[in-house]
Structures are given as C-alpha cells and as structure tokens.
Amino acid sequence: MNPQIALPILIPLLAGAVSLVFWRSRAMQRLVAVLGTAALLATSIWLLVSVGRDGILVMQMGGWAAPFGISLVADLLGAIMVVLTGIIGFAVALYSLATTGRGHEAFGYFPLMHLLLAGVAGAFLTGDIFNLYVWFEVMLVASFALLILGSEKPQMEGAIKYVTLNLVSSVIFLVTIGLLYSMVGTLNMADIAQRLAHLDDNGMIDALAMMFLVAFGIKAAAFPLFFWLPASYHTPPVAVSALFAGLLTKVGVYALYRVFTLIFYHNPGYTHEILLWGAALTMLSGVLGAAAQFEFRRILSFHIVSQIGYMILGLALFTPLAIIGGVFYIAHHIIVKANLFLVSGIVHRLQGSYRLEALGGLYRRHPWLAVLFLISALSLAGMPPLSGFFAKFIVIRAGLEAGAYGVTFIALLVGLLTLYSMIKLWAEVFWKADPREDADTAPPAPRRGELWLMMTPVAGLALCTLFIGLNAGPLYSLAEASAGQLLAPERYIEAVLGNAGGGER
C-alpha cells in the first residue's frame, strides 16, 4: 500500500469538509486552511520523494485490478505537479488570511479553495480517463463559485464567458471519451494506450486526438481557444486570481502532456505539427494582447496565455530535451505567475487600483516589494540567473536542435516582448512618480501584521524562483527523469497493468 498517492486528494477534501463543519467560525476555517494546505504540501513532497525512489507508483481503488477499477497513478510528472499544487495552495492560503474579506469568507471561500485543490490534485494523479473528467468537473465547479465570490458586475460578465467555454470544453471531452470507449472498450489510460497501438484505423485515432486537443486546449487557454481567460481572470478577488493563474490552465497543459505522450504518440507528424503551430500562435497572440493592456492583472492574464505556448512548444517538438524543457517550464511558470498575481494584490491593497495610470512611486515607499516583483518579473521574461532563463533556454535549444527555426524565432521574439511588458509594469507601478498629489484617494494603510502576511508568501515564492535559477541542477535532473518516463509509455503501462495487486513497480 502506498497511502501517499491518495493523500494529496484526501487531505484537501477532508480539510474542505472540516471547514464546512466550522461554517460560522472564521478563526477555525483559517486555521484549517493553513493546516490543510501545509499537510497537502508535506504529503506531496513525500509522494515526490517516493516516486523518485521507487519509480511509478500505482494504487488500485477499492482493490479492483487495473483495467476494471480506477487506478491512481503517480509518475514523476504527476508528482511534480502535485508538489507545485501544494506550494501554491499553501502560499495562497497564507495570503488569503490577509486579503480575503469577511464577506467572501462567509460565502465559503476556504471550503471552495480546498475543493479546488482536491480537484487539481485528483486530475494530476488519476490514471483513468473518465475519472480525469470527473476531477476536471470538481475543479471547475469550485472555480465557478470562487470566480463570482462577491458578485460584482465585471465578475458576472467574466463568469458567463468562463462558465460557457469551460462547459463546452467539458462536453467535447465527454464526447471524446464516449467515442474512444466505443473504439477500445476501456477507460484506463494505460489500457487505452495499449489497445490503440493495435488498431489500424488511423483516421479515427487522429480525429480523436484532435478532439482531445480542442477540449484540453480550451482548458489550457491555447490559441485560438483562450478568449475566456483574459475576460475573466482579472475579475475575482486577487487570491483567487493567483490560485487560478498558478494552477488551472496548467491542469489543461498537464492533460495535453499526458494524452499526447501516453495515448496519441503514434502519428506525431500530424498531431504534433498542429500542436507546434498552435504553440507558436499562442505565444504570439498572448504577448501581443498583453502589450495592448494597461491594467496590472490583465497584462498578467495575457502573459499566462503566451507562456502556455512555451509549454505546448516543449510537447510539440517531442524530443527528449524539449519535454525536459516543457516540464521545467511548467514548474517555473506556476511559481512565478502565481507570485506576480500576489504582488499585484499587494499593490492594489496599497494604492487601491489595478490601472497603471493610477499607480506609481512604490519603489520609494516599499523597496522590498519592488525587488520581489522584479525577481519574479525578470524570471518570467527569462533573464539569467533566474529560473525562467533556464526554462526558456532548454525549450529554445530543443527547438534549434529539432530544426524548427520558425517557431524558435517566434519563441525568442516573444521573450523579448515579455521583457518589454515586464519593464512597462516596473516603470509604471514602481518607478514613475505617484500620480496622485494628495494621499486622500489611497485606501487606509494596511496594518503591519497584514502586510507581513501578504509579503511572506510572495517572498517565499520569489526565493523559490531564485533558488531554481541559482541551483537548476536538481530540478533539471527531475525534469529529465520525468521526460524519460513520458517518452517511454510502456513503463507507465507496465506499472499500471503489470501487477494487478497494486503496489510498487
């Protein structure tokens, strides 16, 4: 038995249930939020360590052997993603202690946050395609409710687009599962992979691959399916924005990685070529959208889109180095992007606006905040020696080695434009003089404890990106090992189906 596989799902579910029990007690809900996410982080690290030691871990739910029951599978990619979920969950839980208002907490902010984390962790760990759909829905329902917490006008308008497009994506996913089931008669991903390899109806398999691409592409906000993201991500409370920005689109990217390395790897000349151009256009359209924006969170939202392009690029090139780069990029991006949203929340708390024209002069008053922002922003743009540099470097190098010069050129250009965008933010928010002559319009200054609570997770995440940058070796070898597993799907299949009793490899 390997309890650590199920614990990252069970702990947030349990924490959510416990905070529902303490519906009226604000203090207890906050305590449970911090303890629950800390426990999630701890077990996820335990999971990663044991996966690194023993190889792919499998747990058969209810003791039903592999193709019949639901298997939970933790390979290195899944385990890395769960650790990142734990990090972001913990950071956001700490941060929301300071930023979440009484009104939001009264409507169940913390239980929903736990439910969202459970859905995300479940999606990373399941080995069953229909179960993946269920975890997607768990995550989506929680995110719907979090998105409209507070019921302001922009939130409603954003939520209608978000809900509609995500529902459409879920329906496409469901239809594809149905079609896939009629072809192979199984739902276990390892079993699907094994049986698809023996089918010769390539046209139908390619069609299914494309349907998965559309379904997960909407979730991952890839071109041309990303329009729900910039319309909605800047509307909810900022802790929710950070949680979404860090985790939700990456679940879509993870699903793309899983499906296109495990199941649909037979015809890369067709499927991965489409992924490649999708990646290029995603990068380009995201960064150009950001260049046209003058609001803190909207700029960051568009940059999510453009960064998703790099991750899909890693998958699309489909060489070992490219997959390493993609995994590295996901890890780097989750930490940095969540952190930038957290910084934007502090800026909003200090100056009462997200619009760049109303901000300014923060470097003079809060130099440490400015430094923390700069670390994350330059890391996002890919400046050495921060984590983003290595992530971009690996992906671009893989592109050059694979001979995809056009796409690589676009990736480099987008890096430059990202730098432009980050410098724009730096200059407008921190460097230029404060546009308001009198301080009357500013909100009341936050209390010291409140500011510390907001700054601690930001500083922690900035240290993470700095640490990855200065000491990229461990994460690189982890990404290398996980790319090795992704490119050898027979190991995954053997781990799931080989020993029906459940247990170690």
């Binding site: 719907f144 409209i148 019921s151 809900v163 529902l167 459409v168 879920s170 469901l174």
Partner: protein, 115 residues
C-alpha cells in the same frame, strides 16, 4: 435503432449550437443544457443498443452465456447527468444573478471585461 439515435443526437447538437450562438444569455443556458444532454445520449449510443439482455451471469457459469448490454456506459452517463445537473443549476443561478447585476439579457452589452 442506432441510426435513429445518431440522427437525434445530431439534431440535438445542432439545436444546442444554434441556441448558444444567440445573443440572449437565457438561450445560451438552454443551449448548454441541450449540449450536455446530446453528449449523454451519445455515450449511451456508443455502447451499442441491445434490447432485453441484462448483464447478469447465470448461476453456475462464470461469464454471461450470450452477448449482453454493456453496463459501463450507463454508469458513465449517470455520472455525467449528475455532474451536468450540478453545473447547469449553477449556470441558471449565474444567469439570474448576472441579470440582476447587469440588467441586460444581451451578450453584446456585456463587454466590459473584454478588451
């Protein structure tokens, strides 16, 4: 029977997409409902239509004697119906709240968050 189902599912999908392309948000939600029902029917039909053959193993045997209906897609459809019910009831409430806040049933007047 299968071809009849195929036509019915196709009509449902077409109707759903037509409704979703309307400007009214109420019609949008009706479109979403039709869409999820079309998907459920599709999964149901994917297993093949078998009449009067429940998946029961006769006593003394370890496998059913003849071809039986596949119970798994029905379990999937059941799950999908429950999920769709939850999500769509959320969507209905959302539309109502949106109407209260924005005072418009027209997607063209909900462009504040677009760019």
């Amino acid at each position: 029977m299968e071809s009849l189902m195929a036509v019915a599912i196709g009509v449902l999908f077409a109707a759903a997409i037509y409704m979703m392309l309307r400007r009214s948000i109420v019609k949008l939600v009706i479109g979403l409902m039709l869409l999820s029902n079309a998907a459920n029917l599709l999964i149901f039909a994917m297993a093949g239509m078998v009449r009067g053959a429940p998946p029961l193993v006769p006593e003394g045997l370890s496998a059913p004697a003849a071809a039986v209906a596949d119970p798994l897609p029905q379990a999937l459809v059941l799950t999908a119906i429950v999920i769709a019910f939850g999500v769509l009831s959320f969507a209905v409430v959302l539309v109502r709240r949106a109407w209260e806040v924005v005072r418009a049933d027209d997607l063209d007047r909900m462009k504040d968050t677009d760019t």
